[in-house]
């Protein structure tokens, strides 16, 4: 599903964010990216989403070399990739329902699809009863659930999560991880960057450790360190 071949990414201030990375992630895998702040986890995620372009090497997502992808095709790549962030990125002026519906609306899905899909996904994340609330009226965990619902409502092949539990307490984090696990079980590939030792050690999934841009460990059913 995801292949990185000798990928190097250097930022303009000559920080090497990723050096000669080779990774192969199969369909349906659940992968943790671990490492210190600034080690290159976020760059890894941003490269998959083509928010960044690699300097060297090739990145294949769903069989396509996205390094060669022309600008107007990037939106179509992103429709296959859901994204969840530490800061949720919800729109404060829209209700929970509208926030999720927005993701379908802006890719041109018809109203009928929106009206059937959005309530279903809100029920899946356990927020069906709060669909008319605004993000500010929700707890952090609930907001992250909305954000997961938005990322997953279009049934993407891949779900990228950049520190999704970074702003949440441990108990709430467990809830989010259960949700991501459920999504993974539907066959969606999940790549999650995290600092949360507890979660990584409990879930025992594949762990890729990045240290100053280099992949130093790639372990099936791994632990945080």
């Amino acid at each position: 599903m995801i292949t990185l071949e000798n990928v190097t990414k250097t930022y303009k201030n000559s920080t090497v964010a990723l050096r000669d990375a080779n990774v192969e992630i199969a369909k349906g895998e659940f992968v943790f990216l671990v490492g210190a702040s600034g080690s290159g986890k976020s760059t890894f995620i941003r490269l998959l989403n083509k928010e960044e372009t690699p300097e060297k090497g090739h990145i294949y997502v769903a069989g396509k070399d996205i390094g060669q992808l022309s600008g107007w095709k990037i939106p179509y790549l992103r429709r296959n990739i859901g994204c969840v962030f530490q800061d949720f990125k919800l729109l404060p002026t829209k209700t929970v329902f509208e926030n999720v519906a927005f993701a379908l609306e802006v890719i041109g899905r018809p109203r009928s699809v929106i009206d059937s899909q959005v309530p279903a996904i809100l029920d899946l994340v356990g927020l069906g009863h709060k669909s008319d609330g605004f993000p500010t009226e929700l707890s952090g965990g609930e907001q992250q659930r909305v954000s997961v619902a938005r990322a997953f409502v279009n049934r993407p092949l891949i779900l990228l999560a950049d520190e999704p539990t970074g702003n949440l307490d441990p108990a709430t984090s467990v809830g989010i991880m259960k949700l991501l696990d459920r999504i993974n079980k539907t066959g969606t590939t999940v790549v999650m960057a995290t600092h949360d030792r507890g979660i990584v050690d409990t879930m025992r999934r594949r762990v890729i450790e990045i240290d100053r841009g280099a992949i130093v460990r790639d372990q099936a059913r791994g632990v945080y360190e």
């Binding site: 989403n49 600008g71 107007w72 939106p75 179509y76 790549l77 992103r78 429709r79 994204c83 990125k89 729109l91 404060p92 927005f102 993701a103 609306e105 802006v106 890719i107 041109g108 938005r150 279009n154």
Partner: protein
């Protein structure tokens, strides 16, 4: 992918409503500058129409006094006819002058009512053999000061004066209008930039979930177009309302003899209005286009 109409309508109106004051500022600037352009175009076509009446080789006109006797007229007539330097003369009596006056001021009935045939001087319109300016003038002045003659008016002089005045006015107004249009374009650009800034979170999410670039751009471009178009519409409405005053404000046939009313026909007004519409839309599109390409990183 088709961009849905209701989406565009909703986004464009909410963008326009978000910065009402700035939006109004740009619309008003477009309106004022286009109204100036329109007014100068009206002036120009009015002047063209007015000077068109000097056709058929008429180079100067000998205006008689209103109280000129028939004897004085006959004597001048025979002199003109016998002169080898004159190729053609047309005598316009008071009745004819009044008829001409009526046509020239067809849309100012109150003016026509206030003037009678007796107020208008009879005149001889003269086409000389030699049409060089000096020859025409030296011929014309020989009739000045004759008994019964009020004044001799030379076409070349009058027309040159009016045309010069109008072209200078037109150029001046166009320069001012060009600056204002530039300001309008910048204002539109800035309004759209602010709209983008206000919506930066939405744009970020739209990019994230895979909205196409055009889907993100089009509402902003429409916003600029609407501002340009509304501005042009206001300018057109203003000019249409202003036209009767415009017609009166310009010098009448009495102030500049024989250069008739500065009529601007309905057809000419339509062309001017269409020009303004096109320029308004173009300003909006240019402002929006620059804003979208420079400040919208999609």
């Amino acid at each position: 992918m088709p961009v849905k109409f209701d989406y565009l309508l909703r986004e464009t109106t909410s963008n326009l409503g978000r910065n009402v004051t700035i939006t109004l500022a740009s619309i008003m600037t477009v309106a004022v500058s286009l109204a100036l352009v329109g007014a100068s175009l009206m002036l120009r076509s009015g002047v063209e129409n007015a000077t068109q009446r000097w056709q058929g080789g008429i180079e100067f006109v000998v205006f008689l006094r209103i109280d000129a006797t028939q004897q004085q007229i006959d004597s001048l007539n025979s002199d003109l006819e016998q002169s080898p330097e004159v190729s053609k003369i047309v005598f316009v009596d008071q009745e004819q002058a009044y008829k001409e006056f009526q046509t020239l001021f067809a849309d100012s009935p109150e003016l026509i009512d206030s003037v009678t045939a007796k107020d208008l001087p009879p005149s001889f319109r003269v086409e000389p053999v030699n049409k060089e300016v000096e020859a025409v003038e030296s011929l014309g002045v020989t009739y000045e000061g004759r008994s019964g003659v009020d004044q001799v008016v030379f076409a070349s002089k009058t027309i040159r004066l009016i045309q010069q005045l109008s072209s200078r006015l037109t150029v001046g107004i166009f320069v001012i209008a060009a600056f204002l249009l530039g300001a309008a374009g910048l204002l539109i650009l800035n309004t759209i930039r602010m709209a983008m800034f206000a919506r930066r979170r939405e744009i970020e999410v739209m990019k994230l979930v895979g909205a196409t670039n055009w889907f993100i751009r089009v509402p902003f471009m429409l916003e600029g177009l609407v501002q340009g178009l509304v501005g042009a519409f206001l300018a057109i409405a203003g000019l249409a309302a202003f036209k009767p005053f415009f017609q009166k404000w310009l010098p009448s046939a009495q102030d500049i003899p024989l250069v008739g009313g500065f009529q601007v026909s309905g057809g000419e007004m339509t062309v001017i209005f269409m020009t303004l519409g096109v320029v308004g839309v173009a300003i909006g599109a240019i402002g929006a286009g620059i804003a979208v390409s420079r400040f919208l990183d999609v």
